[in-house]
Amino acid sequence: MMMKKKQPEIDHQLHQYVSQLLSAYLDGQVNSRERYLVESHLAVCSTCRRDLEVLRQTVRLLHQLPAVVPPRPLTLRPEQIAPASPPVWRWLFGVPGLATGVVTLMCVMALASILLYNHFVRRGDGMPVALAPAMRSMAVTPAPEVTIPGGVTAEVTPTPAPAEAHDVVELPAETAVPTLVLPAPPGQADVSLVPPATPTPELAAEGISSPPPTLPATQQEGFITPPPPPQQTEAPVEARAVEETRAQRAEATVPPEPEPSPTTPPDAVAMALPPATETPAAPFAAAVKAPEGQARETVTPATPPEEVGALTEPSPTALLAAEAPAIPPATETPAAPIAAEAEVPQEQPAEPAAPTAPLQVEETAQGTPGVSVAEPTATPTRIPIPVRDLRLTIKPGLIHIEGQLPLPPGQPIMAELWREGERLTWAIPETQHGKVQEEGRFELELKAQPDHPDADLFRIEPARYELRIVPLEFEAPVEARIPFDTFPPATKQP
């Protein structure tokens, strides 16, 4: 076709030459001499004119190919790069941070022991720096699935409140569960269902039976404004857990350069943290969810035990918990209070109560151990609806949520991110929108606005958050609320 010339007088060689130049000519990538040759030839050769046009259309089509989206975030997790980083490097970066952050003798002692410990652990398996107790326990634990909570990639899957046994929350084995404090289960509706005062298992059970999953009262109080005294004891526990995990997390995530945090470098905190009373693994357990045994017993009413078990199983918690007792270094014990101070001042009030925690822990553990369920901030205007099969994943700059809503397929929905009762402009607006699929399924992936300072919710001050899923142009003012917070999870007592 290109060979074919309409005008016999056209130089065949020139035609060949020009046809090879058309592509570059189209892109303006020819010199002036070539341009002249091309243009003068185009003036007389209809074949080349058409070829040029086809070329232009072809390129246009290519350029119009839709952009595709990576099926998963491609950010690197600390454990992916661990083998590459020489231990020396870690040492260098850990020490200065400690120096600045640790003021007390306790801390220094703890540091020494931890450093030693870590030294061996690190050498042993090449794990990223993990100073916090839980981390250590992980290192020791045979559970291979457990990955260190990289702050960076920390993936948190919401722990279902025990009451919500039927709500399937998956705990991906690879997720860094500990970092995430679990979201409250499906909507507030449930909350209201539950008798406010008593957190007893039976209540939880009741809650369960009702379609919307209910959180044991205890849980909610633990984190939020806890009204009834019986639960108060828990608050301390949770608070501590929070600090711990936070510290761990910080540990895991801290970049070589000391974090800007003026008071205490994360690593320092981590060192100090290990709470005396709690087993190192506790935070994890908390984060993950109710230990299988308890969860089944207490929560089961609504859900067959197996289901709960299944949910919980993949999580490393059980293993961790089992191993934990062996690990706790004695030295760390005294450090807990200090850490608490340094890291999360606001939680301090809880500290004093800590001693009592053990007593209450059982209850908590049954309830929603890891999930510190914050009582959603009340917005009277919208009626809460439940979310089922909730799965929430939080990574730096990204919140992935999926589940099932009692909404018709095709219903447009929008997610709002709230922090401490204030709506945030965090996500790129388009990423907040979606549509309900078959059977009420929905999936949204909120992406933080580029360069948003709060992109990584775990790199900033811990806070209570809420995702609110609002159906747009819906006949009734409803919303689903998924509370979660970035405080470290409550711990389960050994």
């Binding site: 892109d27 074949t47 072809t58 190919l65 952009a67 491609l74 950010t75 590459a84 970049p255």
Partner: protein
């Protein structure tokens, strides 16, 4: 994001800084890889490896642009994977891309089409995009890489020369051949093409005949 700052921090081993770079470039990297590989999972694997490699070697990055450097790593990884695939015919690229039935095609994923696209756009992105993607897959790897960089991603010849380490003249000639070849392929399913395009082909055939 201050890219230079992030690069400097990443060079000192700061993973979170590096991940900021990843977030800034992952879509580009993935799109390049996807168009070259023609397979979503393979493309994600390639990108993950590329980012890992980039993190490990970022200290070696001196003056050149991070973007070009990164895409160079991505395309090199693509070459490696394509070679690997060729040795395993069962999972050849052709097999992955020549059938509509094979797995997930991101071009077909409804959620990828933005809400404000017109129906025509959507139709184009489904059928035609798959056709074009298959056409790209028929090209030899060296032509494919250049076509993806140039015509899909809009890199300049100069940038492509920098990324691929190929002389400018070679970039031009390979692209020219790639376009001619793709054009032939697209013409095999004229019904999928826009009317304007179809008409051109039609005229051409008439004339040739």
């Amino acid at each position: 994001m201050d890219e230079m700052e992030m690069i400097a921090r990443a060079q000192r081993g700061d993973l979170s800084a590096f991940n900021r770079l990843v977030m800034a470039y992952q879509n580009l990297a993935y799109n390049v890889a996807y168009r070259i590989m023609g397979d979503a999972d393979a493309a994600a694997d390639v990108c993950q490896e590329a980012f890992l490699s980039a993190f490990k070697h970022i200290r070696a990055l001196r003056s050149s642009s991070f973007k070009s450097w990164l895409i160079r790593i991505v395309t090199n990884m693509c070459y490696d994977h394509l070679r690997y695939q060729r040795r395993r015919p069962a999972r050849s690229l052709e097999a992955l891309t020549s059938s509509d039935e094979t797995g997930e095609d991101p071009d077909h994923a409804a959620w990828l089409t933005s809400g404000d696209a017109s129906p025509e756009d959507v139709v184009m992105s489904h059928e035609l995009a798959a056709h074009i993607q298959r056409g790209i897959a028929t090209l030899p790897a060296d032509q494919r890489v250049i076509m993806v960089l140039s015509d899909v991603q809009g890199f300049s010849y100069q940038e492509i020369a920098e990324i691929t380490g190929i002389p400018l003249g070679t970039v031009k000639s390979r692209l020219s051949r790639a376009r001619a070849r793709l054009r032939e392929y697209l013409a095999t399913r004229p019904e999928l093409l826009p009317a304007e395009y179809r008409q051109l082909i039609h005229d051409d055939e008439e004339e040739t005949a």
